[in-house]
Amino acid sequence: MRVLDYEFPDKLYYSKEHEWVMVEGKEVAVGITDYAQKQLHEIVYVEVQKVGANVEQFQTMGTVESVKSVSDIFSPVSGKITKVNEELAESPELLNQDPYGKGWLARINLTNFSRDLKKLMTAKQYADYIKGMEE
């Protein structure tokens, strides 16, 4: 769905810290939302924990730097990182250009998704959350 100037795909789940989750069986892909990339603007470095690292829901899993600022990336789920997007090292601008596609950050093997899901939002809920913040 499209809200204000932002795109929030319906099939994804969202966190209050502006990360998205795409469920693909036992694994998920995660990234930052269109809202997050537009706020950060001009992303110049991305750093994500290495493959094999265990991450906890809402704990730091990396950092993203724009020209102006540095921000933590909080993992939207708990699990083990199985893959990271190597392309981002060379082309961090993919986060700005295609936040839900080529700008994915990592794939995570889930520990307990039904528990994590209770603390995530649907596209509609996240859109309302963003609308509330922008007003």
């Binding site: 603007h41 001009e42 110049v44 020209v67 540095v70």
Partner: protein, 378 residues
């Protein structure tokens, strides 16, 4: 955004095109298209900035030179009419109250342009110290709009709408000219390292923005053939940092002296008495303990204010400004380090969050002055 923030003449223009932010009590554009494209437009061609938020005061009277020589560090007597210089005001301890550009409009008339965040402080300091001198200090901030037109094509852009020959105004000189038919004053100065002008639209009160908006739009139109970009405070910061210039509040403040900041060239200790002279003379004799340096990152990572600088297991200082350099495509910073480590070429580490990241002390400006900046080879 808070309704208490002040707005410049160009507020409607900015609001429609830029992401806005609070700065120095004003609601100002941080970027329009983006920091990097705006930055590169200035380095490669031309950009325009609204800098009306800065403070401006006129100093007039028979003893203007005596007063300004007392309250500032540079040699005001040496400043010829229609010339400008960079200077500092210090407190009695030699700490920097502000840095600014002073222009001499006439024999007994000066224009001082200081930082937005220090508008009240500076005006009060000037007014207080003016009392024993027969001078008048007048805050004209809200009656003049101010733009910076910067980049290798700045002169060509402005010339199209100016009624006098801008080629005759050399760097750090100034003069009166009509711009698009509006009364203006220009000085060949700036905060980007590039050639360019700072444009003052005279008699343009905030309440009546029409003439200022006309000049702004005329400059944008004149610069269209050069790909002019309106630039926000984001690019203003990355440009001044690449040029190695100080930002008041980050790199200099009342606890740092011009000598520590590498601004000794604006401190004329041979002058008669001036505020801070005693402390600065002593510091010059004793030697400074820390110095401002430029740092370039040798690894990925962007240094940010307050990050620690280390050498051989010892914390030797900290970063005061840092960013991603669009020209060098890596992290750069201004830092203060202990004087024994403050040598060009010295390899140090910046603690970027938990990681010690390799960096090197380099000469300022950060860019190659043969390729960029006002002294570039044409």
């Amino acid at each position: 955004m808070s309704k208490l923030l002040k707005k410049t003449h160009l507020h409607e223009f900015h609001k429609q095109r830029a992401k806005m932010t609070e700065f120095g009590g004003f609601e100002m554009p941080i970027w329009y298209k983006g920091i990097i494209p705006e930055h590169m437009a200035v380095r490669n061609s031309v950009g325009i900035f609204d800098i009306t938020h800065m403070g401006r005061a006129l100093i007039t009277g028979a003893n203007s030179v005596g007063f300004l020589n007392y309250v500032t560090t540079n040699d005001v007597a040496a400043l010829e009419p229609l010339s400008a210089h960079y200077s500092n005001m210090c407190n009695e301890q030699g700490g920097i109250k502000d840095d600014f550009v002073l222009s001499r409009l006439g024999k007994e008339k000066f224009l001082i342009v200081y930082n937005a965040a220090n508008r009240t402080k500076d005006y009060e300091w000037l007014a207080k110290n003016a009392k024993p001198f027969s001078v008048k200090v007048e805050d004209v901030s809200d009656n003049i709009a101010m733009f910076a037109v910067q980049g290798p094509n700045a002169q060509k852009t402005l010339q199209k709408i100016a009624d006098s020959d801008l080629n005759k105004i050399e760097r750090f000189k100034c003069g009166w000219t009509k711009l698009a038919g509006v009364e203006g004053f220009v000085s060949r100065t700036g905060y980007t390292g590039e050639d360019g002008f700072e444009v003052f639209v005279w008699n343009a009160p905030l309440a009546n923005p029409i003439s200022a908006v006309e000049v702004w739009k005329a400059i944008l139109e004149a610069g269209e053939e050069f790909g002019i970009e309106p630039c926000g405070l984001g690019a203003r910061d990355t440009l001044r940092l690449e040029a190695g210039m100080c930002l008041y509040g980050n790199d200099i403040d009342e606890t740092t002296t011009p000598l520590e900041a590498g601004l000794g060239f604006v401190v004329k200790l041979k002058k008669d008495t001036f505020i801070g002279k005693e402390a600065l003379t002593k510091q010059k004799t004793d030697g400074v303990k820390r110095k401002r340096v430029g740092l370039i990152m040798l690894e990925k990572g962007i240094p940010r204010p307050r990050y620690e600088v280390w050498k051989d297991g010892e914390n030797i200082g900290h970063v005061t400004s840092g960013t991603f350099s669009p020209v060098l495509e890596r992290g750069i910073a201004i830092a203060y380090v202990s004087v024994q480590h403050a040598t060009e070429g010295n390899k140090v580490a910046v603690k970027v969050r938990d990681k010690f990241t390799d960096a090197q002390i380099v000469k300022l400006p950060f860019y190659d002055p043969v390729k960029y900046g006002y002294g570039r080879q044409k």
